[in-house]
Amino acid sequence: MKIPSINLSALPDLDKVTGMFGSLSDLASAYTDDRIVMLMVYMYELIPPEDII
């Protein structure tokens, strides 16, 4: 039996769309959602410190 593949874009969203936690509309001028402290992820380079080479 041939099974059709379904395109995600053809599948409707719910009529009541829910955004991500902490998201605000473009109209919002608030700087931050009080419940969130955004953490910055640091990426360190993979060159080992000279003292362990």
């Binding site: 099974i3 395109n7 995600l8 719910l14 998201s23 919002a28 931050t32 009080d34 402290v37 410190p49």
Partner: protein
């Protein structure tokens, strides 16, 4: 790229960085473990586990007597500042964020509760906010320093697509305390004179409601956001697995269509259908057949629409339910 010699030196010897961090962590631990603070943090644990604020009198006092809050914060500053001055490359041992004119330092968290220092700085002119967002998170605040013109906005709890908003202007100054429900009551900072520093205690319910953002001029709902971090995290995971074409995730997605928030269940269904037609269609069928399911009608519509576009699916349907 120019690397500061002091930072470069840390590459060959990371011990000073570790030492700086230990000293700052030590100062934080000392501050937390004074008898007064231990009592406050014990109360915070109780509050975070669901107790009412009046049952946590040490903690409550911080948010009913602003002088107590001030002393509490001054002790934190006295414990940390000297260590930060002697270890300028150390990281402050609290979650912190500075965005625009608002800085947040989360000084403690337990269960559903967090305690933070929040500072608002003066921005040019008054802030003309067009919308207001209600989040399901109760807040108690004590003003430690500065003053500001604020507006308390309340909405009646009736409709979700429009709200009757009631605004009340207030002048907030050192020594004031505020308690806001979050879900139906929030504040807007209109104008800050130099700065406003508040100690804030907040608590979200275990299953928070969605955050709702309304336009101030007419009370129309302009945005709805999930109140649950975990749901949004799962939604991102679903999208990522979908884009990666991870067909092996389809059975888990099908399982996710069964429980949880409607929007997340629906996303799981969409991603599952796009990844694995049979698995997804079987989940869709189950949803469409369950009259008690809040998504039943949506699922029935989608199933009819899919069978119309792909008549082969009718054969899969009879294969799934031979009866």
């Amino acid at each position: 790229m120019r690397i500061d010699p002091e930072l470069y030196a840390l590459r060959s010897n990371s011990a000073p960085q570790r030492k700086a961090q230990q000293m700052l962590e030590g100062a934080k631990d000392d501050w937390r473990s004074t008898p007064q603070n231990r009592a406050i943090f014990d109360d915070l644990a109780r509050f975070g586990a669901g107790a009412a604020l009046h049952e946590c009198d040490r903690l409550e006092r911080l948010f009913t007597q602003a002088k107590t809050a001030r002393v509490f914060t001054e002790k934190l500053i006295a414990a940390l500042l000297p260590e930060m001055a002697s270890h300028p490359l150390g990281q402050i041992p609290f979650r912190h964020q500075n965005s625009g004119a608002v800085s947040v330092l989360q000084i403690a968290a337990s269960g559903q509760a967090t305690m933070s220092l929040v500072m608002y700085e003066r921005t040019g002119g008054s802030c003309d906010q067009q919308t207001v967002c209600f989040t399901d998170c109760q807040r108690h605040e004590a003003v430690l320093a500065g003053h500001a013109a604020i507006e308390i906005v309340r909405r009646d709890n009736s409709g979700e697509n429009t709200a009757n908003l009631h605004q009340e202007s207030l002048a907030l100054a050192q020594g004031d305390t505020l308690a806001l429900s979050g879900r139906t009551e929030t504040k807007i900072i209109k104008q800050v004179a130099d700065r406003l520093l508040v100690l804030r205690l907040s608590r979200s319910p275990v299953s928070p409601m969605a955050s709702l953002e309304f336009r101030l001029s007419d009370g129309v709902l302009v945005h709805r956001a999930s109140g649950e971090r975990r749901d949004s995290r799962h939604e991102l995971m679903l999208a990522l697995l979908g884009r990666m074409g991870r067909i092996d995730a389809a059975p888990i997605m099908a399982e996710m269509t069964q429980t949880g928030a409607d929007h997340l269940r629906w996303e799981a269904l969409r991603e599952c259908l796009a990844l694995d037609t049979v698995e997804g269609f079987s989940a869709l069928n189950a949803m469409a057949k369950d009259q008690g399911d809040t998504l039943c009608v949506h699922a029935q519509t989608l199933r009819a629409q899919l069978i119309e576009t792909h008549p082969e699916l009718a054969a899969i349907e009879s294969m799934l339910c031979p009866a």
